[in-house]
């Protein structure tokens, strides 16, 4: 039997929903101990699980102070690998001069003897406690033994493009009326301690003013990549929803921020993908509801007519539109590439454009 169906394409997708049931897995990078139980209500700061990660190590030479060759030194070891040791405690000792004199080697630190060899011992001097916190308020719906838990909450979910920081939270304060750039003059002392939201791109002056006013964070559509070095000097993180350059925030995303003005938002950073690529930052705005809203969409989407998409590359970068059809054969682009394309009607325009199937991401809202 010969199958001749057309190929299917699975572009990436981005979700922004004003109200959904959100589930997120929160886990440690290495095994530890889970501190919560199924059904437990947690706050953003609740520690879900902890693990001990070895920190420093001290190497102690036994052979020279005991005056023996390295291969004989371990015979005098009193604290074997796997045992703990206190500072000044005798690690190894050897009697000399017919037993009249004792050569001792004492541990310089508190710790655990972890290895011995070559006339030396290694002492692990301490461990750093790793912890994973809830990151947003919710309910533990599943415990992942030794690693963490799956949490559930209701509220808004916005998947962003990029973030300069780690998990944080704060009260939202929308400072622009729409897609205009985020400039210094729209930031007044009322923004202190809040996450400021602008519907356009970030102007350099806004970063300086926000630092002076001690904002908690900044969310905008975009920012010139040339501003990245400046972010290192700031005390607050920046989240971009669209990309780098000068792109306005998607109106649907801006509407969600406007709707929840004054509510607390929680910014989460999913673990990196298996190849090391960082995951998309996510903004969760908890909203209690009587009846659970529908779950956020999951799984991949087959590119098909009717889907609402965002375009990723020039000359339409940042524009949104609707898929009219996936073209049956590869097309030659102005760039000289021959690739599979879709026909897309851009929002606000009648004329369709041809766009490579992987130059779009599906908007799920």
């Amino acid at each position: 039997m010969i199958s001749m169906e057309s190929p299917r394409f699975y572009p990436g997708s981005v979700t922004f929903m004003a109200l959904a049931t959100i589930r997120r897995e929160r886990r440690l990078p290495l095994p530890g101990k889970v501190r919560v139980r199924r059904g437990e209500t947690v706050e953003a700061t609740t520690v879900l699980a902890t693990a001990e990660q070895p920190m420093g190590v001290v190497i102690v030479d036994l052979a020279r102070p005991l005056r023996v060759p390295p291969e004989r030194a371990l015979a005098y070891l009193r604290r074997k690998p796997g045992t703990s040791v206190r500072a000044r405690e005798v690690l190894a000792a050897r009697r000399t001069l017919l037993g009249l004199r004792i050569l001792r080697v004492r541990s310089p630190v508190d710790g655990e003897v972890v290895a011995a060899g070559g006339g030396r011992v290694m002492i692990r001097t301490g461990a750093r406690t790793l912890e994973v916190r809830a990151g947003f308020p919710g309910v533990v719906v599943e415990v992942i033994p030794s690693y963490g838990a799956i949490l559930e909450a209701t509220g808004a979910l916005i998947q962003a493009f990029w973030s300069s920081g780690s998990d944080f939270s704060g009260v939202l304060r929308v400072v622009t009326n729409g897609a205009e750039p985020l400039r210094a003059r729209v930031l007044d002392p009322m923004v202190q301690g809040t996450i400021v939201v602008g519907g356009g791109w970030i102007e350099p002056s806004a970063l300086e003013q926000a630092e002076r006013l001690q904002v908690r964070g900044m969310i905008a559509g975009s920012m010139e990549a040339s501003l990245l070095p400046r972010l290192r000097e700031l005390s607050f993180p920046v989240i971009l929803t669209e990309g780098f350059g000068r792109l306005p925030m998607h109106p649907g995303i801006f509407r969600i921020f406007s709707l929840y003005q004054g509510r607390e938002a929680f910014i989460l950073h999913p673990p990196a993908d298996p190849d090391g690529t960082p995951g998309r930052p996510e903004i969760v705005i908890p909203v209690p509801t009587e009846n659970p809203p529908p779950p956020e969409p999951t799984g991949e989407v087959v590119l098909r007519p009717g889907l609402h998409v965002r375009l990723l590359r020039e000359p339409h970068r940042g524009r949104t539109g609707t898929v009219l059809r996936v073209l049956p054969d590869p097309q030659v682009l102005e760039s000289g590439l021959r690739v599979w394309c879709a026909e897309i009607r851009l929002d606000g325009e009648e004329r369709p454009v041809r766009v490579p199937v992987y130059n779009v991401e599906v908007l799920r809202s």
Binding site: P7, S226, D273, P274, G276, E300, S335, L337, N359
Partner: protein, 589 residues
């Protein structure tokens, strides 16, 4: 058993490519290719899913059902023609191994280990040297701290010729074993010992049962002898093992395959070696620019010099590449002024949306500028690691271009120019082009069934892009200065003859269309300057037969090394003119 059909799956960092090979009219040939995104993004990464989609696509293109209703590969081939006899898998999607190297001297054992690591998907985080170039020496305690901090996947220790002194290498081994004991059992690095054979038993005793150890042949068993093959093989094996642990779905995919997963770079080296045996007097170069790695496999009569440059390419690796090379080095290849902001925006977009492709000519120029820099960087590393190749390193026949950066183009002139700018071959060479990415599959096939691989290669499954004649110039020449002249004699299949006289001028690229059919010879070279076409200054054979090709013959009179104008505006004009010369500014094919 005669192989009837084969599918190869190359799991790349951005795309998974499936290739179908089958026996057609008694010859084993490449039949069709298809690709799908490697599904490593999002909450449910699954490498198997990307492979299934590539196979679905391949089924649609080839008309041969490859998957059963449950989405499992049909193997062996059925009497209906569905399925394939064998599946082979190559891989470059996993992050590189974290590696620490230890040896006695930078110019001996460590130089060998660096070559071995460079040819694998490995990032060298620390080098522990008993003798350092500046005479200083780290203490054994400092070695230990370095080993602990690096958290390596693999520690390779070498040093000493067989039967020589043992103490310095012993100390390195002790440090490696001690540091490994600090890690939890499941995270302990693999220790490879490839030093003085006298220490083998001691290495085994030191590692005991707690530290995974493999004892290999000494990389420098005698003065002047180098054997890095076993280290490379172990690094390849460890890379595949790590990948199976880290990439969801890879173990399931491996269940479909005959034999072990082969790192893509290794598969490419098989192809380079094979091609070099066809032209033993010159090297064969296989180039692969992917999303996260760049591979250069240069083979000289079967001897391999290979570099796998991690954190490079034009996918997720483009950001690191930009951070290392900087705006000026990228912008020097552009035919128009593109401000840093626009370049950086594209870099971030490409890094975070690596599947996306350039739609406009400007974005294509930028991506090809990154291809040039990625190749230049890998080339520089090859040169540093194999200094003994000297000038011969630029004499190749052929050069084969592969990888995602060279896929799906319809302006081959732009690709040829990018390769010539970055690699700067000297003399007469052939540029071959693998537009669908079948080389990894061919390399994997060569490892399984060399006979079938030879048959598939004999069918020349790649495209002959151009024959290149690029003289070395002893001194700079003025723009448009006449370098040499020659005649192109073409005899058509109908017996018709035509002769053209060609002038090679300084700073210019001349493209001479050569018909595929018939025979073409270059004759009557007249040197006007002391140029070297590969046969010595002012020398050339009386007749050189060349094949036809997509672009024909490119005469590159720009000299070696290529000199770009200092002034940015003049340089942009230079780039524009070269793009024009190779037909890369016109319409698509």
């Amino acid at each position: 058993m005669t192989l009837k059909s084969l599918v190869t799956i190359d799991v790349g960092s951005v795309q998974t490519r499936a290739m179908l090979f089958a026996r057609v009219e008694d010859r084993f040939r490449f039949v069709a290719a298809a690709s799908a995104p490697t599904s490593l993004r999002g909450p449910d990464p699954d490498v198997l899913l990307g492979a299934i989609r590539a196979l679905e696509h391949l089924s649609a293109i080839s008309g041969r059902p490859l998957l059963d209703p449950q989405g499992i590969l049909i193997a062996p081939e059925l009497s209906t023609g569905a399925g394939v006899d064998v599946c082979l898998i190559t891989l470059s999607a996993a992050p590189p191994l974290r590696v620490v190297l230890g040896g006695i001297a930078p110019e001996w054992s460590l130089a060998s280990l660096h070559r071995a690591a460079a040819g694998s998907y490995a990032r060298v985080l620390e080098t522990l040297s008993v003798i350092s170039p500046d005479g200083s020496r780290r203490t054994e305690e400092e070695w230990l701290y370095a080993l602990v901090a690096a958290e390596p996947h693999v520690v390779v220790i070498a040093g000493g010729v067989d039967g020589g002194g043992t103490r310095p290498v012993e100390a390195l081994l002790e440090a490696a074993v001690l540091a490994a004991q600090l890690r939890p059992e499941e995270e302990r690095p693999l220790l490879l010992f490839a030093g003085n054979a006298l220490l083998r038993e001691e290495a085994v005793a030191m590692a005991g049962r707690r530290i995974p150890l493999r004892v290999l042949e000494n990389v420098r068993p005698r003065p002047g002898v180098e054997r890095i093959g076993p280290v490379v093989e172990e690094l390849d094996r460890r890379y595949a093992e790590q990948a199976a642990m880290r990439l969801p779905g890879l173990s399931a995919l491996q269940g479909w395959a005959r034999g072990e997963i082969l790192p893509t770079a290794r598969a490419l080296s098989h192809v380079a070696r094979y091609l070099s045996l066809e032209t033993p007097e010159r090297g064969a170069l296989v180039v692969d620019v992917g999303g996260r790695h760049v591979v250069l496999a240069a083979a000289y009569g079967g001897m391999l010099a290979q570099v796998v440059q991690p954190d490079s390419g034009i996918g997720p690796g483009i950001l690191s590449l930009y951070q290392r090379r900087g705006y000026e080095r990228i912008a020097r290849w552009l035919p128009r002024e593109i401000p840093p902001e626009a370049l950086e925006t594209l870099v971030w977009t490409k890094a975070l949306h690596p599947l996306s492709v350039p739609q406009t000519p400007e974005e294509m120029w930028i991506e090809l500028a990154f291809v040039r820099e990625a190749l230049s960087e890998a080339w520089e590393r090859l040169h540093v690691l194999w200094p003994e190749l000297g000038r011969t390193i630029r004499f190749f026949e052929p050069i084969l271009l592969s990888g995602g950066a060279f896929a799906a183009h319809t302006r081959p002139g732009a690709l040829a120019l990018a390769a010539l700018d970055a690699l700067q071959p000297i003399g007469l060479t052939t540029l071959l082009w693998d537009p669908v990415g079948l080389l990894p599959g061919l390399g994997a096939l060569a490892a399984l069934d060399p006979g079938s691989a030879v048959e598939a290669i004999a069918g020349r499954p790649w495209i002959l892009l151009a024959t290149v004649l690029a003289p070395a110039l002893e001194s700079p020449v003025a723009p448009d200065e006449l370098l040499f002249t020659f005649e192109v004699h073409h005899r058509g299949p109908d017996g018709s003859e035509s002769v053209y006289e060609i002038e090679a001028r300084g700073g210019r690229l001349e493209v001479v269309p050569i018909p595929e059919a018939g025979e073409t010879e270059l004759r009557r070279f007249r040197m006007r300057r002391p140029v070297d076409l590969g046969w010595g200054p002012r020398r050339a054979p009386r007749r050189i037969r060349i094949p036809g090709g997509m672009l024909g013959l490119i005469v590159d009179g720009r000299g070696r090394p290529l000199r770009l104008a200092e002034d940015p505006e003049t340089r942009r004009e230079q780039n524009q003119r070269w793009l024009w010369d190779v037909g890369a500014l016109g319409g698509a094919l």
